[in-house]
């Protein structure tokens, strides 16, 4: 297997595609369908060249190349991280055995399902963000949006590669279905709920890339541990690209907070809406919403599926290699706080094996906490007392032990009436959304930026902020 990327082939790849007639034929058959899908469901804004990075290698010394690319001509390809010699299964009942280069028949259905679910999220976010380019606050942001979009497209390719290469006819059918399901479609929606919500404005986009793409990072992290080596290597390389998406989210929210802080200082009021800024309480409501729908993506706290996947070696824990236990978890326990209908909480002891979703969610939550910390530092540095916080894990939940309960952001269990009276203070109202949308006007002039967001401190690839990241002519 070569590590440099073959751009001679119709489909760039580092998997020696030209020597695999079967796979080549399958992927070349899928490519036009992908292009059709991109044309219909991809970015609505027409451009003539976006300053994009393209993967050119998977090694340590630089894997990306930057240049202006006409978006539909972007070279989506198939890249796997370098194989690790003598890699062994790190957990579950096959622990210590060599990893699998082929799908074991026993696990075909489960692996296929995992890959399809992961693959379904990738094009979904492109669909959700289809219209955002029309209201980009700057060329820099527009470029970032397209970068995220093409890389989500590439992640779809990565999953489709696995389906085509290892799952035969059924895999090819599933690969096509990934293009047939569409975000928000009433007849054929995306598999996971959070991916059927439109990303309506740029604050939502930043929040999505911060909170929801971060869920993706953790899911990829568990698949990177997989005993099925091609899946592991695929996810490892995807994680590299995913980091940029989260950078877009982190710095995007940074810049909104910075701009709001600046306006609060300038006008000496928290009510900055009329000065073209986004008030801090609306930002908090966006955090509350995006964080909690992303928590739902982790699934139920107890999951026999997750336990079976772990035991079988299909899906590990975050940083499995660094865990100091037996990696089989047949004897371990983990506490879970559950709401009671009488408004109290109780502690349950769960089998660690059944609580793997809870474990992953815990890792995710502490990661999210670091964003809150950094946004609060921006406020503190500006001398503003207001602070952001993550809401309670039970707030606004529709999946797991908290579903069906009314739990406030500070963790009190309340009745339905109390909840409905107060929810406008916690989640974005239609007025809030309409207000944010009212700020969304496109700014396509190099070096200029919308009123509600601060410019970035650095440009892309050493270029300045006023670089012409996107050509319109």
């Amino acid at each position: 297997m070569t590590t440099s990327i073959n751009y001679e082939d119709k489909i760039p790849n580092n998997v020696d595609l030209s020597s695999d007639r079967r796979l080549q034929r399958a992927l070349e058959g899928w490519q036009p369908k992908f292009m059709n899908w991109w044309g219909e469901m991809g970015p609505a804004l027409e451009t003539h060249g976006v300053y994009l990075r393209t993967a050119v290698s998977v090694g340590r010394d630089g894997w990306a190349h930057f240049d202006h690319v006409n978006v539909p001509d972007y070279r989506w390809g198939i890249f796997l991280a370098e194989p690790k010699p003598d890699r062994r299964i790190a957990f579950g009942e096959h622990k210590g055995q060599p990893v699998w280069q082929q799908v074991p028949g026993e696990y075909r259905a489960d692996l296929q399902r995992l890959i399809v679910i992961q693959g379904d999220t990738e094009p979904a976010s492109v669909e959700q963000q289809k219209l955002l380019g029309l209201t980009a606050p700057s060329l820099y942001d527009l470029r970032n949006l397209f970068q995220v979009n093409v890389e989500e497209g590439r992640h779809l390719w990565a999953m489709v590669y696995l389906l085509h290469a290892y799952f035969g006819r059924e895999g090819r059918e599933e690969a096509e279905a990934l293009l047939v399901r569409n975000s928000g479609s009433p007849d054929s929606p995306r598999i996971l709920g959070a991916f059927n919500e439109e990303t309506a404005d740029w604050l939502a986009f930043y929040m999505f890339t911060y909170f929801t793409d971060r869920d993706g990072k953790y899911q990829l992290g568990t698949l990177k541990e997989s005993a099925f080596d091609p899946l592991s290597r695929t996810c490892e390389f995807m994680l590299k690209e995913e980091a940029h998406h989260m950078f877009v989210g982190t710095t995007g929210v940074d810049r909104v907070v910075a701009r709001s802080a600046q306006l609060i200082r300038e006008h000496d009021t928290l009510d900055i809406a009329r000065h073209g800024g986004i008030p801090l309480d609306i930002i908090q409501k966006y955090v509350n919403f995006h964080y909690t729908v992303s928590l739902d993506l982790f699934g139920s706290e107890t999951s026999t599926n997750a336990a079976n996947y772990f035991t079988a070696g299909l899906k590990g824990r975050w940083m499995e290699g660094r865990r100091k236990d037996d990696h089989q978890l047949t004897e371990h326990g983990i506490p879970l706080r559950r709401p009671n209908t009488d408004g109290t909480w109780r502690n349950d002891e769960l089998s660690a094996l059944l609580a793997l979703n809870l474990d992953l969610r815990g890792e995710y939550i502490s990661d999210c906490q670091s964003g809150i910390k950094r946004w609060n530092k921006i406020l503190a540095d500006a001398g503003i007392d207001h602070r952001f916080a993550l809401p309670h894990v039970g707030f606004n939940r529709h999946v797991g032990v908290h579903a069906g309960f009314h739990i406030t952001p500070d963790g009190s269990i309340v009745d339905a009436d109390t909840w409905h009276d107060a929810v406008k203070n916690w989640l974005p109202t239609s007025e809030d959304l309409a207000f944010v949308r009212s700020l969304m006007h496109p700014v396509y002039e190099p070096g200029k930026i919308a009123s509600w967001v601060a410019p970035p401190t650095n440009g892309i690839n050493g270029k300045p902020f006023d670089y012409e990241y996107v050509y319109f002519h």
Binding site: V103, Y107, G168
Partner: protein, 546 residues
């Protein structure tokens, strides 16, 4: 140690056979010390697998080597004992899968005794006849019981052992002999059984004879039965010569059949080859090398050996190869001569071997490739399988070749080899859709392409040549990951769509209940009836009805 199913009258330990013109005598005289495995004595003409292997061999030889025989008298060589049935200590000491496999084989032999082609079985019960002994008699067309005021027929399994008379006993009593169910209930719960006139009145036997008249009455009845036969009197038999078989650690090779083991996937690939030379012009002057007989014997032997000796090879991959035209020549010869005793016996034998496949507790996966000969009687192997995969493309090893896989239906697929449920495999496959079977009949005689076979519902899937390897690998690996017990149950339920017959009731209802009872503590627990039999201790039952 592998069990061999080879036997020959010159080395029988438990049976004496002799023929007197149209009458053959099959005399059970079990060697007490001749158990097939150590640990028990075969007292009172009780039997184990070894005794039954000889019985099966004897019945087969009578069919093929002695066409002149019209009545087979089955009797005992011991004084006052006909047969005490399966040896209890053997059953008590056996692993579950051994018991189940043993019962299956004995059932098949008894079913075969009823599949007569002018050779009628007559049981001359000249002593006590209990359990499997009475079931052996039940498989005969006529039962003559000595009326000595002590010899009884009985099914004492329930009262004495806490299990069922599982070799067709319960089924044949009510189904075949039409004994009233209440009388059958009394009969099957009495350890001492029923004697003389009562046995006759309850229809448990057909005829009584005083001790000194037994032989005379038997001869008279045998002659009467023989008179009904249409067998030729002057035909030459075909000697069943020893099979040419090579057994290695990796498989078994015969002249026309090969089995290769893949222990990693718990699978065995069975390849059956079409004849290599054209068929003779008539059914005469033939010997055991005649392809249809030879291939059937080899397949029979292979099935029996794999079932008994390789219980962990859970998936059988069935393949065929060879020349379709040559195969059809043989098929036509047999089909055109169905009234010839030998053609008839071979067709019946092949039917019984295919039935063995139907009741085999292994996952059967048929592969149809460009090199296959999936035609007529060999295509039946595919239809017996749980799934059929067919390559849609060139041979895997030669992508430039123009060879393609095909399936050709012939008359052999439309009733020549019925299943135990009395209908053909295609009728079972399309049960409730007789119109579809009629449509298939119109397609008979020409090679059907993978797309056509798929369209006509003859195959499960038609992966193309580039998917083939992976699809098959995954199907086999996936099967190996499932619970073997659940697979057995699944397959046994799905294979027999359609009507019930005595045979399906024996392999379905009777065997399934028996196999459940075998594993229950009430039978096989330390205090269970089967384990406690003969210890002087009474069984302790869990009284809950399940």
């Amino acid at each position: 140690m592998d069990v061999s199913f080879d036997a020959h009258p010159s080395t029988y330990r438990h049976w004496a056979t002799r023929t007197e013109g149209e009458i053959a005598w099959l005399v059970l005289d079990v060697d007490e010390t001749g158990g097939i495995v150590p640990g028990y004595e075969l007292k009172l003409n009780s039997y184990d697998l070894g005794v039954d292997i000889e019985l099966y061999d004897a019945t087969q030889r009578l069919r093929f080597e002695h066409p002149e025989v019209r009545t087979v008298v089955l009797t005992s060589g011991k004084d006052k004992v006909f047969c005490a049935g399966a040896n209890i200590r053997m059953l008590a000491a056996s692993a579950h899968e051994w018991k189940v496999n043993f019962c299956k084989f004995t059932n098949e032999t008894r079913n075969a005794m009823e599949d007569t082609a002018g050779q009628t079985y007559l049981a001359a019960v000249n002593g006590s006849c209990a359990g499997g002994g009475y079931e052996l008699a039940l498989a005969c067309e006529h039962i003559l019981l000595v009326d000595d005021n002590s010899s009884a027929v009985s099914l004492p399994e329930v009262p004495l052992l806490g299990v069922l008379p599982g070799t067709g006993g319960l089924t044949r009593v009510v189904d075949k002999r039409r004994v009233r169910k209440d009388l059958a209930d009394v009969f099957a719960t009495r350890p001492d059984g029923v004697k003389g006139k009562t046995a006759l009145r309850w229809r448990l036997v057909d005829e009584l004879a005083q001790p000194r008249q037994v032989e005379q009455a038997t001869r008279a009845r045998a002659a009467e039965l023989a008179a009904r036969s249409t067998r030729p009197r002057d035909a030459e038999g075909v000697e069943l010569t020893p099979l040419n078989r090579e057994v290695t650690a990796d498989g078994i090779h015969y002249e026309h059949v090969t089995a290769g083991y893949d222990r990693a996937t718990s699978a065995v690939t069975i390849t059956v080859r079409a004849p290599r030379a054209p068929a003779p012009s008539a059914v005469s002057g033939l010997d055991a090398t005649f392809w249809p007989l030879a291939v059937t014997r080899e397949l029979d032997d292979l099935i029996l050996r794999l079932r008994t000796n390789e219980p962990t090879l859970g998936t059988w991959i069935l393949k065929t190869e060879g020349d379709a035209e040559l195969l059809r020549g043989y098929e036509k010869l047999l089909a055109d001569n169905q009234d010839h005793w030998l053609a008839d016996e071979i067709l019946r034998y092949h039917k019984r071997v295919l039935k063995r496949l139907d009741v085999t507790s292994r996952s059967l996966i048929a592969l149809v490739e460009p090199s296959s000969c999936c035609v007529g009687m060999l295509a039946e192997l595919a239809f017996a399988a749980d799934r059929q995969y067919m390559v849609d493309g060139p041979p895997i090893e030669d992508e430039d070749s123009t060879d393609r896989a095909s399936i050709t239906l012939t008359e052999a697929n439309f009733g020549l080899f019925p299943m135990g449920n009395g209908i053909s495999r295609l009728e079972s496959r399309f049960y409730g859709h007789p119109g579809h079977v009629e449509r298939l009949r119109k397609e008979a005689g020409r090679p059907l392409s993978p797309a056509e076979a798929d369209e006509l519902g003859l195959v499960t899937d038609i992966p193309d040549d580039i998917d083939w390897f992976d699809e098959i690998r995954i199907a086999i690996e996936g099967r190996a990951a499932l619970s073997p017990d659940a697979c057995t149950g699944l397959e046994a339920n799905l294979r027999f769509a359609g009507p019930e017959t005595t045979e399906t009731r024996i392999f379905g209802r009777l065997s399934a209940w028996q196999n459940w009872i075998f594993t229950r503590p009430n039978a096989s627990g330390d205090e269970g009836a089967l384990r406690r039999y003969g210890t002087g201790q009474k069984a302790v039952f869990d009284r809950k009805r399940v």
